[in-house]
C-alpha cells in the first residue's frame, strides 16, 4: 500500500500550475446571463402567445411566473455553490429551490381549486409540446452548465446535477409559459411542473454519472 509520504511525493512531482476557478458569483452571473439570452432568443424565435401583453396584467400569471423565476435563481445558486468545496450552505438552504418549486406547483393547484367549475382541471392530454419546447429552450444552457460544473469539483455530484437541471428547465419552462396558450391548472401541473420535476431527477442521475467522474481531472494553466 502506498504510504501517505510516498503519495505526497508523487503529488508534488505531479504538480503543475493551475488556472484558478472564477468565483461562484461570477460564474453564476455568467451562466445565468447566457441562459436568459438563449431562452429569450428561443422564445422569440418560436413566437410568443398572442395574448402575452394581456397576461402580463394577470396577477396569478405574474405570481406563478415569479415563483418559477425564483426557483431558477435559487437552483442556479445552489448548483454553483455545491460545485466548490467549502462554499456550500447548510441543508436548509439546499432545500430552498425545491421548496420554491413546490410553492409554484401549489400556486397553480390553488388557482385550479378556486375555479373548479371552469375547465381548469380538464385538458390534461396533448400537452407534450410544452415538454418539448422546454427541452429545446433549456438544451444549450444545460450543456454549458454541466460543463461549467464539471470544471469545478462537486462534492455532492447528484445534488449538483439535480439543481443544474432544475435551474435550466425552470428557465426553459418560464420561456414556455410565454408560448403556451393553455392556462388550465391541470395542464400546467402535468405538462409544466411535471417536466421540471422529471428534469431534476434526470439531473440527479447525470450528476452521479458525469460530475463525479469530472472530479478526477484538474485543469492546466
Amino acid at each position: 500500500m502506498t504510504t501517505s509520504n510516498a503519495l505526497i511525493q508523487s503529488l508534488v512531482e505531479d504538480l503543475k500550475p493551475v488556472r484558478r476557478l472564477a468565483s461562484v458569483d461570477l460564474r453564476t452571473v455568467l451562466w445565468a446571463g447566457f441562459a436568459v439570452a438563449c431562452v429569450c432568443f428561443g422564445t422569440y424565435a418560436l413566437g410568443v402567445r398572442s395574448d402575452l401583453a394581456l397576461k402580463l396584467h394577470d396577477p396569478s400569471y405574474l405570481v406563478e411566473g415569479a415563483a418559477l423565476l425564483m426557483s431558477f435563481a435559487l437552483a442556479t445558486r445552489s448548483a454553483f455553490q455545491l460545485s466548490v468545496p467549502g462554499v456550500e450552505r447548510g441543508r436548509l438552504s439546499r432545500m430552498l429551490p425545491l421548496a420554491m418549486l413546490l410553492g409554484w406547483a401549489l400556486l397553480i393547484a390553488i388557482r385550479g381549486a378556486r375555479g373548479m367549475n371552469e375547465a381548469s382541471f380538464t385538458p390534461v392530454s396533448s400537452g407534450s409540446s410544452c415538454a418539448f419546447r422546454m427541452t429545446f429552450l433549456a438544451f444549450a444552457p444545460t450543456l454549458w452548465l454541466l460543463f461549467m460544473l464539471g470544471q469545478a469539483a462537486p462534492l455532492r455530484p447528484g445534488w449538483t446535477g439535480l439543481f443544474a437541471l432544475v435551474s435550466a428547465s425552470a428557465l426553459g419552462m418560464l420561456g414556455t409559459q410565454a408560448l403556451c396558450v393553455k392556462d388550465a391548472a391541470m395542464h400546467l401541473l402535468y405538462w409544466h411542473v411535471g417536466p421540471v420535476l422529471i428534469a431534476g431527477l434526470v439531473g440527479l442521475c447525470l450528476g452521479e454519472l458525469f460530475l463525479s467522474r469530472s472530479q478526477a481531472h484538474s485543469r492546466g494553466p
Partner: protein, 173 residues
C-alpha cells in the same frame, strides 16, 4: 495553497505535510482503525490535489480543506457500510445453504456437488475457491482477473441460487 496553484512545489510539499497531520487527527477522532484512517487521509490528499484549482485565495483555506476531508470520510463510511451489508448477506446465504445440506450428512457432499453443478461455471468456480478451498476474495480476484467486488457479487448470486435449489429440494421431499 496560492503558491501551490502557481506551481511552487516546495510550498505544496509543506502544505500537504501540514494538511496530512490535520486531516489524520480529524479522521482519527471518528475512525478507530489505523489502516482506514490512512486510506481516508490519502483519498483526501488526492481530492485536494485534483480540486486545487477550486480554492479561492480570498477565502480561508481550512473550510475548503475540511469540506473535502468530511466528504471523503462520509464516502468511505458509506462504502464500508454497503460492503459490510453485502458480505453479511453473502455469509448468511452460504450458512443457510450449508446448514440445510448438513441435516443429511450422509449424502450431503453428493447433494452439494449436484447443487453446485446447477450454478454457472463462474459462480461454481468462485464459491469452490472461497468456501471449499478457503481462499480469500483478494486471491480469487487476482487469479480470475475480476475485481474484488465482482467476486463478492458473483459469490452472493451463487449463494442465492444454492439456497433456492435447496429450498426447492426440501419442498419436493
Amino acid at each position: 495553497m496560492r503558491r501551490a496553484q502557481d506551481g511552487d512545489r516546495q510550498a505544496y510539499e509543506s502544505l500537504l505535510i501540514e494538511v496530512t497531520a490535520i486531516v489524520r487527527s480529524f479522521v482519527r477522532r471518528r475512525i478507530a482503525h489505523a489502516d482506514q484512517v490512512e486510506d481516508i487521509v490519502q483519498e483526501t490528499l488526492l481530492a485536494i490535489h485534483r480540486g486545487r484549482h477550486t480554492y479561492d485565495p480570498k477565502r480561508p483555506f481550512q473550510p475548503w480543506m475540511y469540506a473535502i476531508a468530511r466528504h471523503r470520510l462520509f464516502d468511505f463510511v458509506n462504502r464500508q457500510r454497503r460492503r459490510t451489508t453485502h458480505e453479511i448477506a453473502g455469509e448468511v446465504g452460504w450458512q443457510a445453504a450449508s446448514a440445510a445440506v448438513a441435516i443429511d450428512s450422509g449424502s450431503s457432499l453428493q447433494f452439494l456437488q449436484r447443487a453446485l453443478a446447477l450454478l454457472s461455471s463462474r459462480q461454481r468456480e468462485i464459491i469452490q475457491m472461497l468456501k471449499l478451498d478457503g481462499r480469500s476474495v483478494a486471491e480469487i480476484a487476482r487469479e480470475t482477473g475480476l475485481s474484488e467486488s465482482s467476486v463478492k457479487v458473483t459469490a452472493h448470486r451463487g449463494y442465492k441460487h444454492l439456497r433456492k435449489v435447496i429450498v426447492r429440494s426440501d419442498d419436493d421431499e
